[in-house]
């Protein structure tokens, strides 16, 4: 007989349902963790990959926290190859509790939103509309109200803010002189379209900030955090960056201009060894569970020595019996793997909520799911091949003698 008794695999799985269930659960847990940890790393990578290499970021060469003078903006606009420039300022405020952190940036409305037209979409506009048709009304509303702000969908959910709300923020860098809170009017809610923008940011008008500082109603550094620079079509980023930096090489603040992608990459580098830790842990997890699965399969094989002897005596080939064992292992690891993957994808949103502002763009990429499936396949193979080999090796007479 040369056929493979596939139905045996099915019987084996049901012969010890508790063990099969435990193994599947172990694999599920391992693959879930694998997806989670890998996604932490890919989330950082995606932020870099999705960043524009056509948009430049001009900041102080000394420090992220040193401001540039306001009069740099008209000078940069004059540079050959530059299309438009938007101010960008870190506000550093919080709502009620300093721990409920989210980012707020002061920007120049027209220039900034034109640069990010392809990176975000309006989820809810001033009149309840969404998508492309809401874009122009959003800009109108921003232009019309000095205190207008556009917020990410993540913040809207977290604080239960809606379009039309007036929200108070306590400032850490720019406190009001009388100790009161800053007030912003939410005119629209956006959703990110790419990994370089998160959904936990608020954008508001730079002139609101500057006018308060100039009038003395608010205190704080009077300059500009950084400038976003949009290049004209067909310009070389390195050349334009150099032109900008050369303008200010003798001060008062030396600048460092680079593409947004380079900026994101440097942020990732600053995080330090975190990705390394995460990968190491992920490896340890997969190994630990691989051992568990191999263990189970070995045990299954040992218990079936007698049965295998009978089948061999009946004329089933070694190969056929090995395939039965391998299939069992594959079924266990693929079912477990599938569940783990599903769980990871399903938990994407809850995990993002828990991670909050540390990983606002957390996402389980399709490539991660594919890699995880590959890991499950390898697990199934490795865990199945050893017992399969054991079965093939044993002589029918020995096997029959064993009491199983």
């Amino acid at each position: 007989m040369t056929t493979t008794p596939w139905s045996l695999t099915w019987r084996h799985l049901w012969a010890s349902p508790v063990r099969a269930l435990l193994t599947v659960t172990a694999v599920t847990v391992a693959l879930f963790l694998f997806c989670f940890l890998t996604s932490l790393v890919t989330t950082l990578d995606t932020a870099v990959k999705d960043s524009s290499s056509r948009r430049l970021f001009c900041q102080s060469a000394v420090s992220l926290f040193v401001q540039l003078p306001r009069d740099y903006q008209p000078k940069i606009v004059q540079v050959d190859g530059v299309a438009s420039v938007s101010k960008l300022g870190w506000f550093g405020g919080y709502y009620r509790d300093p721990d409920s952190f989210f980012a707020q940036f002061a920007v120049d409305v027209d220039e900034f939103f034109a640069m990010f037209e392809k990176d975000i979409r309006v989820a809810e506009g001033p009149n309840g509309e969404a998508g492309d048709s809401a874009w122009e009304p959003m800009l109108e509303a921003m232009r019309a109200d000095r205190r207008a702000a556009v917020i990410g969908a993540g913040i809207a959910r977290e604080f239960d803010w809606a379009v039309g709300d007036t929200v108070p923020l306590t400032a850490t860098i720019y406190p009001m002189a009388d100790g009161s809170a800053w007030e912003f009017n939410v005119v629209a809610i956006y959703e990110p379209l790419k990994g370089n923008v998160d959904d936990r940011t608020m954008y508001f008008r730079y002139d609101y900030l500057h006018e308060a500082l100039d009038a003395g109603t608010a205190l704080g550094p009077p300059g500009v955090g950084a400038y976003y620079v949009q290049m004209e079509e067909g310009q070389d980023a390195a050349v334009v960056s150099q032109r900008v930096d050369r303008l200010f090489e003798n001060g008062p603040q030396v600048t460092q201009t680079a593409t947004e992608a380079a900026l994101q990459a440097s942020f990732v580098a600053m995080i330090g060894n975190l990705p390394l830790f995460v990968s190491t842990i992920g490896g340890a997890v997969v190994f630990a569970v691989l051992f568990t699965t191999i263990n189970t399969m070995l045990m299954a094989a040992r218990q079936r020595t007698h049965e295998m002897g009978v089948l061999k005596a009946l004329g089933f080939s070694n190969g056929a019996l090995a395939r039965v064992m391998l299939l069992e292992s594959f079924v266990l690891s693929l079912v477990g793997g599938g569940l783990g993957l599903g769980l990871a994808k399903w938990a994407e949103e809850p995990v993002r909520q828990v991670l909050g502002s540390n990983f606002p763009t957390y996402r389980v990429e399709p490539t991660t799911l594919m890699a995880a499936m590959a890991v499950a396949l390898v697990m199934g193979f490795v865990a199945g091949v050893v017992p399969a080999w054991m079965v093939a090796r044993v002589a029918p007479t020995d096997a029959l003698r064993s009491e199983g």
Binding site: P175, A288, T292, L298, M299, R302
Partner: protein, 388 residues
């Protein structure tokens, strides 16, 4: 009647391969648990025990960290001259110093920029931390000049940070003249003259005033009083309280990571132990029948299998600690989100951490063995003897 301990332990040896696999599973769980928590212990040791209660920080009200604070020259002078709470030297000088703080870009030796804290100090800053600062190379800077001293954790990682090097800040070159050691945060900082820093970096003023307060000062009351002061409003924190608050986010994240990972991995390890023990029980059904038939009570059979499983846990615990032990003291750098600066620190495997890890391993073994041991003890002697 109790089964001898050897019975359980010898059973582990019988199923060597399977026991080893289970122990390795537990070991890896314990290693991850201990590894992440020792990172956290190392990180917090940089901040926590060094802060002194009698040293206080004056910052602008509302600022959560010194990077966000800003104090003008006038305010600093008023605070230093007029506050009776600030201790004084024999010659009447206040034991207080105005400091600037800025996270500056510095190049790592192997490429890439990270944020390093640059602190502008006055001579009094060094005197106030006298008992914790040690000069290990060169000399202290000459105040009023463009000289800097560098914390001892930096030269081995960063460019332009060794004695004799020149570091250009904005447009001004600064000369490195000394290396100093500090077990706390200052060991990863660069120190220069605070007034020179304000000028070279075109800053608006100072970030904080560090001062020693006279004995019996109520810091909270002082802070409350100053927050509503018209001429020089400020918030006051003790150094200890301030430093502890700076570890909240990263320390919390590491703790969450350690607990989450060990929970999930722990589940997998328990399942592994359960599988091993189930098999151990299944293959000894006959033997269990014999034991029951000759009068061993069910309780001692339960205990014997539980001990076997706990033994696996102990084995895994030892193995896991052996895996993390080489990491102890290993230096690494992570970004502290709250100050947005790089902190370098070592894995610190404290005795209590080792004990906790070992306890975790033991618990994983016991949890994994509980159900199989119970199943074993519930077998009917007749069925068991006939091999069912």
């Amino acid at each position: 009647m109790k089964l001898p301990l050897e019975y359980s332990l010898r059973n582990i040896l019988v199923r060597r391969a399977s026991a080893a696999f289970t122990a390795v599973g537990i070991a890896l769980t314990v290693a991850v648990f201990a590894g992440v928590l020792s990172l956290r212990a190392g990180f917090e040791s940089v901040y926590q025990p060094r802060g002194r209660e009698d040293l206080v920080l004056f910052m602008r009200q509302g600022a959560l960290s010194e990077g966000e604070s800003s104090l003008s020259r006038e305010r600093v002078q008023i605070l230093k001259k007029e506050r009776p709470e600030i201790a004084r030297e024999a010659d009447g000088r206040p034991r207080a110093s105005a400091e600037t703080f800025l996270a500056v870009y510095l190049e790592l030796l192997d490429g890439g920029l990270i944020n390093i804290p640059l602190r502008g100090v006055e001579e009094m800053s060094i005197r106030l931390h006298e008992d914790q600062l040690r000069l290990v190379e060169g000399r202290w800077l000459e105040f009023g000049s463009d000289e800097i001293v560098v914390g001892s954790t930096l030269p081995s990682r960063m460019r332009n940070c060794s004695v004799g090097d020149t570091l250009v800040l904005n447009t001004t070159p600064f000369k490195v003249v000394g290396i100093f050691e500090h077990d706390g945060v200052h060991g990863g900082e660069i120190w220069g003259d605070s007034d020179r820093m304000i000028e070279a970096l075109d800053r608006m003023g100072y970030q904080r005033v560090l001062a020693e307060v006279v004995e019996g000062t109520d810091v909270e009351a002082l802070s409350e009083e100053l927050e509503n002061d018209r001429r020089a409003p400020a918030q006051v924190r003790s150094e200890r309280e301030y430093l502890a608050a700076q570890t909240n986010v990263l320390g919390g994240a590491l703790q969450f990571l350690a607990l989450f990972l060990s929970l999930v991995m722990g589940v997998a390890a328990v399942l592994g132990a359960a599988i091993t023990m189930l098999a151990s029980v299944a293959s000894r059904t006959h033997e269990i029948g014999v034991l029951l038939a000759i009068g061993y009570p069910r309780g001692s059979i339960f205990t014997a299998f539980l001990i076997e499983s706990a033994g696996l846990g102990v084995l895994g615990g030892v193995l896991g600690l052996l895996i993390v032990l080489p990491f102890d003291g290993l230096e690494t750098g992570l970004m502290n989100w709250q100050t947005f600066t790089d902190v370098s620190f070592g894995f610190t495997l404290t005795p209590s951490l080792m004990l906790a890890s070992f306890g975790l391993a033991f618990a994983l073994g016991v949890l994994g063995g509980a159900v199989p041991a119970w199943l074993a003890s519930r077998k009917e002697p007749v069925d068991a003897l006939s091999g069912h």
